[in-house]
């Protein structure tokens, strides 16, 4: 389709035998902690628990580095490591191996997951220190990493889906980690069910694709233009019965040495689609189902899966609620890794999406809409984690703009940069929450820069990154995405080309970027500047804010405050020997902490003293992540500056085969500089207004504006009432249908059955009556008639001869008379 694209060949596979170790270590960690963690914790204390978990993470990271170094040594076209473990299942043409593969894209993901994941594990040591179910937390966290690694390393859709659902499970478990609070438990449930909507789309898209490859749907037009060797209907044996993997492989026809036909494997799929001489591409592009282009439908359905996992409109609603989980979880799962799974999936299938401009248009459009929508909600939130949650949704929207318009590497790069700066922000907020004694409401913070310098600087650095200033990484990825969006004239919607869509998305993106910069700096100024407002005695007002995490969780966390700052001093000793310098009234020993939740909340007022910097495990991790947010900028220095392709683009090129073929307009370098300037300007404008309005909490303008536009404010603050809309539009009707079905079952179907029974009984009674009165009655009637006759006749027999004689005479007389009459 693109003239400049050189003929692509099959992926050269390097078989290695150790990839399975990468997910194995977290799995072992999770298993040990899940099965015997409670006992270990009892016997040896909490150290053993986190040592197991963190060791597992670093081991996985180590193996990932080995794989990375091996990959670096290979020529770029051959960077594909594969490790097939066993045949998962075979039925007919569908054969699925349980196997792993690493290409540059998944390598990047694995490094992010194990690297940032390890850091977040370390952070959790301090953050969760006083949690009684410490073992459970680390077990879940390791389980999550295991599932996430399956997701990115799976060499086929099935293994990816294992991970896809596995991270959903881990996310559910971790969001509902403090399950005694029904609200938090419900948030977990919401996340899982909302994700299932996406999974439904994912599965439908997957099956559609699988069978489309088998030629199950006929092409739109006659096969005049198909002058190649791919004969889908005749030769693919799509329904042939193979019992073993070997038989299934034997059924697969090969065209020019490329295996074609239905497959679950990414590599085989990529090979047959990318190599044009197989004709698969033409077949897919020409097929329709229900009058819609099949490929578009496949891509959109798969994207529905991504919408669920990556929290895009309209399935984003679970992510803000997911903030009910512990903060490290929010950082790892709901910012850095799991939520980017959708972006990863679209990037992984770039060769498919690139074939359907309509699907690309939709992806980009949904991404842009989500970016601006979520950013606008972020404007007025007071809960620091909610702000970050909406900013995550918004940033995911940016990533989808990237992969949607065809700038796959830029989307992936934003994924990487976002993982760093958003993890920094979340962990920073976790540090703030720790420091403020489990306060999440920014109205009760302020002035923390004095007390928490490291947290403040790292948070500020991450704000620069997300707002897009050139001295941090966020600028490079966001700028690349928006620039590519502006230059993409190839998008379409419903099969209609829409060259205006790219520039429109650019404008929306710039507005969203300005907004992002505004609310992120708003959160920075509200939190770190001005005077500390935490002593004002507002502790009972948690519930005033409908979004603030509920009080039960606070009480949980408030206990861990003591031990986590205690951990600075007492890492090697017994727990809970906190220094008196912190001025806390209560220092419950860790062992007793388990029983101390309930009173802890009542104590809340007591430790409302000065905020304090977090323990070294926390600040160390924050610093490392902030440094990461800086150094990763070198991966994406734009070509306009150096004349060379950015390092990451070059690295990812073998995996993102469709990248080269996307027909972006080519603008001059001057124009590109201008776009970069616009990007920086957008960030600066947002920063300026945030500083104006929120620095040191001096300005009265925000309050006045809120008064002036209270209606608008309320609608936005209440998140446009989307949750309520869902309740009315989805939840209630489903329950109604369920009630109706249940009613129908017990009152109609079962009644019918009972009715059958009743009818049978009535018939039986009738039958009994007939038997009793008709059949038996007839028999009795014969007898009784005889008897009655006898009785009457008996009275004739008087025993008196004279009477008989009368009879005889009468008879004779009659005979005589008759004789006369007749004759």
């Amino acid at each position: 389709m693109h003239e400049t694209a050189h003929e692509l060949g099959r992926i050269a596979v390097t078989n290695v035998g150790y990839l399975w170790l990468i997910p194995l270590f977290p799995l072992i960690g999770a298993t040990i902690n899940a099965l015997v963690g409670w006992k270990l914790q009892q016997l040896f204390g909490k150290k053993i628990v986190h040592r197991i978990a963190v060791t597992a993470m670093f081991a996985a990271f180590g193996v990932a580095l080995v794989a990375f170094s091996q990959m670096l040594r290979l020529p770029s076209e051959e960077r594909f490591l594969q490790d097939t473990l066993w045949n998962l299942m075979t039925a007919g043409r569908m054969t699925v191996d349980f196997g792993f593969a690493l290409d540059p894209l998944s390598m990047m993901m694995v490094l992010v997951i194990t690297g940032i994941g390890s850091l977040i594990h370390v952070f959790s040591i301090g953050y969760m220190h006083d949690e009684p179910s410490y073992w459970r937390f680390f077990s879940y966290l390791n389980l999550f990493v295991f599932a996430m690694l399956l997701l990115v390393m799976g060499d086929n859709f099935a293994v990816m889906f294992f991970g896809w659902e596995g991270v959903g499970l881990a996310s559910y478990l971790l969001i509902s980690f403090w399950y005694t609070d029904p609200e938090k438990a419900k948030a977990g449930m919401k996340a899982f069910v909302a994700n299932r909507f996406g999974d439904f789309g994912f599965l439908a898209g997957l099956f559609l694709l699988f069978w489309a490859l088998g030629g199950a749907w006929t092409p739109r037009t006659g096969s005049g233009l198909r002058n190649n060797d791919y004969q889908p209907i005749a030769e693919l044996n799509a329904t042939a019965g193979a019992a073993t993997a070997a038989q299934a492989h034997a059924l697969a026809p090969a065209v020019h040495d490329v295996k074609v036909g239905p497959t679950m494997s990414f590599r085989e799929l990529r090979d047959q689609v990318v190599i044009e001489s197989t004709g698969v591409k033409e077949h897919l592009a020409g097929s329709t189902i229900w009058g819609v282009s099949l490929l578009t439908l496949v891509c959109i359905l798969l994207f529905v899966g991504a919408m669920g996992k990556s929290a895009q409109i309209p399935l984003y609603v679970w992510l803000p609620d997911a903030m009910a989980g512990p903060t490290p979880v929010s950082a790892l799962i709901h910012a850095a890794t799991m939520v980017t799974a959708g972006v990863y999936m679209v990037a992984r299938l770039n060769f498919l999406f690139a074939l359907s401009p309509s699907a690309m248009g939709w992806v980009a459009l949904i991404g842009a809409a989500t970016a601006i929508f979520a950013a606008s909600i972020g404007f007025f939130q007071y809960d620091i984690k909610k702000v970050l949650a909406y900013s995550t949704v918004s940033q995911l929207g940016f990533m989808f703009i990237g992969v949607g318009v065809g700038a796959y590497w830029a989307g992936a790069y934003h994924l990487l940069t976002h993982a760093f700066f958003k993890a920094t922000l979340f962990l920073g907020s976790g540090s703030v929450i720790l420091g403020c004694h489990h306060e999440q409401d920014m109205r009760k913070m302020g002035g923390l820069k004095k007390h928490m310098p490291i947290t403040r600087w790292t948070y500020l650095a991450a704000c620069w990154a997300i707002a897009g200033f050139p001295w941090m990484n966020g600028f490079y990825s966001k700028d690349e995405i928006l620039y590519k969006a502006f230059t993409s004239g190839h998008l379409a919607l419903f099969g209609v080309p829409t060259p205006w869509l790219g520039p429109a998305i650019f404008v929306v993106g710039i507005v969203a970027a300005t907004g992002t910069s505004f609310y992120m700096f708003r959160s920075y100024y509200m939190t770190f500047t001005g005077e500390y407002r935490g002593n004002a005695g507002h502790h009972d007002e948690h519930n005033e804010d409908p979004h603030s995490a509920s009080a039960a969780a606070m009480s949980h966390l408030s206990v861990s405050v003591h031990a986590s700052d205690g951990a600075v001093h007492a890492d090697g000793h017994a727990h809970g020997h906190a220094a008196p310098a912190h001025g806390h009234a209560v220092h419950a020993p860790a062992a007793a902490a388990a029983t101390a939740h309930a009173p802890a909340h009542d104590d809340h007022g007591h430790h409302g003293g000065t905020p304090h910097e977090s323990p070294w495990t926390v600040t160390l991790v924050l610093s490392l992540l902030a440094l990461g947010s800086f150094f990763t900028l070198f991966l994406g220095i734009p070509m306009a500056w150096t004349g060379k392709a950015p390092i990451l683009e070059h690295w990812l090129a073998p995996a993102l085969t469709a990248q080269e073929g996307v027909p972006f307009q080519h603008l001059s370098h001057t124009t590109e500089y201008m776009f970069q300037a616009i990007g920086v300007l957008a960030g600066a404008v947002g920063w300026f207004f945030a500083m104006l309005l929120f620095k040191d909490a001096k300005s009265e303008v925000p309050a006045r504006l809120k008064e002036r536009f209270l209606g608008v404010w309320t609608v936005v603050y209440e998140k446009y009432y989307v949750d309520e809309l869902y309740a009315v539009a989805v939840l209630k009707p489903s329950l109604k249908v369920a009630q109706a079905a249940s009613w129908f079952d017990s009152n109609v179907i079962d009644r019918l059955v009972l009715l059958t029974g009743t009818v049978t009984r009535v018939v039986a009674n009738l039958d009994g009556a007939i038997d009793k009165y008709l059949v038996d009655g007839a028999v009795n009637a014969v007898a009784s008639v005889t008897q009655e006759c006898g009785r009457y006749l008996r009275s004739l027999q008087t025993g008196k001869v004279q009477t008989y004689l009368y009879g005889a005479l009468g008879g004779a007389l009659v005979v005589v008379l008759l004789n006369f009459l007749i004759s």
Binding site: L88, R93, R196, D745, S746
Partner: protein
Amino acid sequence: MFTPGNVLSWATFFPVIGSALIVVLLAAKFFLRLDKKLVDDGSRWIALVTSALSFAAAIAAWRMYDPSATGVQLVQHFTWIRAFNIEFYFGVDGISISMVLLSGLISFIATIASMPWWSGKKDAEMAGMVDDGHDDPHHPKHFSVRMVPGYMAMLLLLQTGMMGTFVALDMFLFYVFWEIMLLPMYFLIGIWGGPRKEYAAIKFFLYTLAGSVLMLLAIIGIYYNSAPAQLADGSWSSGHTFNLIELAKQGAAGQFRNAAPILGFSFAKIVFIGLFIGFAIKIPMFPFHTWLPDAHVEAPTPISVILAGVLLKMGIYGILRFNYGILPDATAWAAGAIAVFGVINIIYAAFVCLAQKDLKKLIAYSSVSHMGFSLLGMAAMTPQGISGAVLNLFTHGIISPMLFLIVGVIYDRAHHREIEKFGGLAQELPEYSAIMGLAFFASLGLPGLAGFISEFTVFSGAFPVFTTYTIISATSVILTAAYYLWAIHRMFLGKLNPVYKGYPDLNWRERMALYPLAVICIYLGFYPQAILGVINPALHALIQNIKPL
């Protein structure tokens, strides 16, 4: 001890031997005035040992079965009633071998679950498992200490009936075992069941008998339209045959295509419908499913386990063996309707689940929903569809017993099953909550656990044939997640209801029943080929008869 020639007989008849031994024991009690406790314990151990031996024989059969060879294996075949061409014919092929293994396993698990073992006396009293001689009608004793020898004898007889149904390859023999299974079930529900046990038992019995009648008529119809076949001793049968394998060959060759019509309708179609309804009641398929919730709710836990784990599978097994095997033309004709019923089962029952307040009813309806997958998969007649359908029988046969055991655990403690009345149990019963979470997630189709693979295979198999139906059915992944998670939410999460403080967590008997199933569940989640590789060849051959490729 086990040879290919006798292993299936051992698997089938070990339990009935145990049953006979218990009767002998009862006679000995009468004549020798043995102690009641001795007799009770004796019958328990007889039941355990014989069902364990039956399970061992089933495992041996699984290991002896050679998936690469075609046709029937482990055959035991001789003439039984010469005058009517009835033979004693045991054997397995890819359709039944997995069911033999499942039946042996679930029977053994159910026997374990029938034991009144409990670690402490106080806890045992809580469950009503202490046999102190007098039975208060207001607080009935646990089923495991009431009329123990009778219970065990019935349970063993039931096991023989189930195993025999799966291995019998003679229509008459099949019918005999099918009916043998019915009677003990009636008594087990009717005597050892819950408050409305009589109603449930009668409903179950009449419902299944109604199915049996249709089936019997169809069997006789098939018999009188069959051609003679060779008997076990090499001679030819007189006129007709009951041999299922021969009948399948004749059916594939079109023997029943031109049989005389009944009341103006095609013979094959009428017989197909008769057989299908007979089996559909067992599945149970909408709208013949309403006996199931009642039977489950009233049945004691091990009986629910057997009911959900094995009995429901017989419906699908029977359809595959009879309808698909003998009447391929009519099957092709009915495939669309089967798929529609499958979809209704899946979606309708899932919605009904969402509205249930009784935990056991919820799980009973979820069984109805999950059996719909098998219907949909086998209707599609693709290799994936049919393999998925049979795999679904196996995985559901692992998961649903877990679910019912889990309900039994909480019922033994709380003596009710109202989901709304629980709350926060995860704090008091962490191990129980974990295993229940595992079972629920397995049932809602989480990858890595057994349920997912069968759903995935069924969907992928049904998709090209019934695209719309499959997409509708796939919405069940959302509904299933919703009702299970909501149940977890209401029962385990949130604040602990103080009523349940101090409840004991799982005891060893419950662990012995639950953990093996959990391990199998995870194993199959990651290696379903263990089952698929064995059942694939025979199943794919089966559908090739129906739709020549």
